[in-house]
């Protein structure tokens, strides 16, 4: 990522593309995008990664988190335009972008720790976490699909998220 930002290194960018494009496509499709729409979003996201590379701050987020938030915001913009085709393209759109992230948290080393913590979750909790992020599903749907009571879905998910946040708090 540093090579992309500092040297405008195309080969380094191509490697980022090769790593993230297939993951983003899978992620976006799981969130409900059709194949072609997912690829358009992948394209827009990676172009934005290239154009805004110098604004990436490794203390604020991992590369994966940064790439994810760009894709998420592109997806929201797209949904909004689909719902309101007459929208002025320059109208300020709502994006879930927190203006100033919490500057006291150094997120530099968080990626690996968090991935380990997800891998260490009991399988049923890890599944719920994935459903909560990928699924575009409300808890009631998750409850119906898994046959687990709604209250249990919510409390298990919270338990899992609490463990993950605790993993983030260690050493940070």
């Amino acid at each position: 990522m540093a090579a992309v930002a500092l040297r405008r290194d195309r080969e380094a960018f191509a490697r980022l593309f090769d790593h993230y494009a297939p993951r983003l496509k899978a992620f976006l499709m799981r969130q409900g995008a059709e194949g072609a729409a997912a690829e358009e979003l992948v394209q827009e996201t990676l172009l934005t990664v290239w154009r805004r590379a110098e604004t990436f701050d490794p203390a604020q987020a991992t590369v994966a988190t940064w790439v994810f938030t760009i894709a998420r915001n592109k997806r929201i913009d797209r949904l909004r335009r689909e719902n309101k085709p007459d929208l002025d393209p320059h109208e300020p759109l709502f994006r879930p972008e927190i203006e100033s992230a919490d500057e006291t948290v150094n997120r530099r080393q968080q990626g690996a720790r968090l991935r380990r913590a997800i891998a260490d979750l009991p399988p049923e909790q890890a599944d719920l976490v994935r459903m909560a992020y990928f699924g575009d599903k409300v808890h009631t749907t998750i409850a119906a699909e898994t046959g687990i009571a709604l209250g249990t879905v919510k409390s298990r998910l919270r338990l899992a998220m609490k463990r993950l946040r605790r993993a983030l708090e260690e050493e940070s």
């Binding site: 960018f13 191509a14 593309f17 993230y20 494009a21 297939p22 993951r23 983003l24 496509k25 899978a26 992620f27 499709m29 969130q31 997912a38 690829e39 992948v42 394209q43 990676l46 172009l47 934005t48 154009r51 987020a61 991992t62 994966a64 988190t65 940064w66 994810f68 998420r72 915001n73 997806r75 929201i76 949904l79 719902n83 393209p89 320059h90 300020p92 709502f94 994006r95 879930p96 927190i98 203006e99 919490d102 006291t104 997120r107 990626g111 968090l114 991935r115 997800i118 994935r130 909560a132 992020y133 990928f134 699924g135 575009d136 998910l157 919270r158 998220m161 609490k162 946040r165 983030l168």
Partner: protein, 213 residues
Amino acid sequence: MTVLTERDDLLVAYAAGLLPEAPSLVVAAQAALRKDVRRAVGDYEAVAGALLEDCETREVSPGLRESVLSLLNEESPTDEIRTPAGDSRVPVPLQGFVGNDLEALRWRRVIPGVKDTLLPTLGGGTARLMLVKGGVKVPAHTHQGLELTLVLEGAFSDASGTYGPGDLQLADDNVDHSPVAEKGTPCLCLVVTEAPVRLTGRFGRMLNRFVRY
């Protein structure tokens, strides 16, 4: 250790990009006001990043890579968000919806001392700003689904406690509450209600126009 609540469910959905626009406004506005919310959202976004890193892959079309690489030299289209200067009483994420003059909005008088104005959000739920004069009591009401009330200025209290700037009240449909604005500064709130079950049929549709809470 922090206890995760219904609020965290909202923050997770927000971080995932799965929360409708109206409740997203509440989260973004509260994050602008409070550091603990910013931190929590950052944590939940980090989880999304970790899930992306370990996500299964789906092969992209053969031409996509070339097409993206060939576009790297192109000037960026206007990608920037234009945020016009907004009213300082509302947090930045709301300013695009509110404009720079709160008074110029189309306010609707609910009862004397209480007025509200709808914000144009998409998707489930409705968002409105509500302004309650100091000491005025909002009529008792229940609602269908969840109601989120974020205090932007002033304060209000009800049976569950007192809420000041940056505080968020989550009330489900079991709560029958009648909040009272604290004396002094008028209480400005962002109120989001989940889309109520729409009444259907000719008669029902007519009633919908009058159903406020």
